[in-house]
């Protein structure tokens, strides 16, 4: 019951999703639409688990006065504030111009954009380290990256040549390598899906 029924659910739902692809009958489409919505609903319940886990981890850190517990307080304050502001006026709480959205625009957006922009510095340092390695492969990588980056910059008489070269690299050799990767990923995903459907791969059930 604890292990057999989940395997049966996986098999039935998996086989159904495969069959419905080959038989585009409206009754199959009907169940397909419902199944997709159920998955989304389950996902939202799973988000609650995530919130619970974050809260529990932060609260235990505060209670134990672990190093950096003050930062966990900030996490809890941020979470509680957003939940309160997001629910106290019903679905109008998330309309543009509310305090909830102000926090989104003035806290969430700048921090997220800055975190991603930090990568510009680290990627430059990674490029420098790759340059120092001085192997054929690192050189191919860096020269290609340089051609792609200079594509949008005016370079006088060689601008046209560089743009043509960048465009050729993207549409021909880059496409060839991407195809090899996509085919590999496709075959891997298909094999893994089959292993899951037939109960060979059961890691999703955890232990015990």
């Amino acid at each position: 019951m604890r292990r057999q029924l989940p395997i049966l659910i996986v098999f039935v739902s998996g086989v159904f999703m495969v069959i419905q692809y080959f038989i585009p009958h409206e009754s199959f489409e009907f169940i397909y639409e419902y199944a997709m919505d159920w998955i989304i609903i389950i996902g939202i319940f799973a988000m609650l688990l995530g919130l619970w886990s974050l809260t529990r981890a932060s609260v235990s850190k505060v209670q134990a006065k672990a190093p950096g517990w003050g930062f966990s307080v900030m996490t809890l304050v941020g979470l509680a504030t957003m939940l309160f502001l997001g629910f106290y006026k019903g679905n109008k709480s998330i309309a543009e111009g509310t305090f909830f959205m102000d926090l989104f625009w003035y806290i969430y957006t700048p921090i997220q954009a800055t975190m991603f922009s930090l990568l510009a510095f680290y990627i430059a340092s990674a490029a420098y380290r790759a340059f120092r390695v001085r192997t054929v492969l690192a050189t191919i990588l860096l020269v290609t990256a340089l051609i792609i980056m200079l594509r949008l910059i005016p370079l006088g008489p060689i601008s046209g040549v560089n743009q043509w070269l960048a465009s050729w690299i993207l549409t021909v050799p880059n496409m060839a390598a991407k195809r090899a990767i996509w085919i590999g990923v496709g075959l891997g995903a298909t094999a893994t899906a089959l292993k899951i459907i037939f109960g060979i791969e059961r890691a999703y059930m955890g232990k015990d």
């Binding site: 292990r3 159920w38 609903i41 988000m47 957003m82 939940l83 700048p110 997220q112």
Partner: protein, 205 residues
Amino acid sequence: METIGIWIAALLTLGIFSFLYKDNPFYKFCESLFVGISAGYWFVTTFWQVFMPKLADNLIAGRFYYMIGAIFGVLMLLRLFPKIGWLSRWSLALVVGTTAGLYFTRYLVSNGMVQVQNTIIPLYVKGNLSQTIGNLVIVIGTFSGLIYFFFSKEHKGAFGGLAKLGIWFLMLSFGASFGYTVMSRMSLLIGRMDYLLGTWLGLIR
């Protein structure tokens, strides 16, 4: 509110940038706040924009099949109770099975069949040298790339040579992706600098 908001956003931006010097309490404060705010934001927006229309509105409209999704959702929460936590596997099984079945055909068609079909192209195009070279490069590049990913045979001799050619193509592709990533991160960096120097300090217009 706008002025206060701009100041808060600017100080938080500086807080995150302070990590470039070293990990410090100012950065950790911004990071922790971000974790809480983002978790709350995504839960609330998903609740109002997805959960309510998908579940509550459908149940009110009399579409009771949606109760099945809700029941499986509640089962998922039983993970919090160790004695009956195993029941959450049922919901997980539904998600895993459905996704596996869906991806089986999706990946087989879009990543397998379509890519193979698009690679089976003429190696000689009459009167069009650039197309001929392009097609040759695509076929050789894809084939050698696949050889590189084939680990059931040792990469030696002609097979090893093809695998080596494959990794050259892969490096070229990674270089292109690297170039794009650098450009996108630089554009974000310019955006943040514009915010600090323009919107916040008013030094550039």
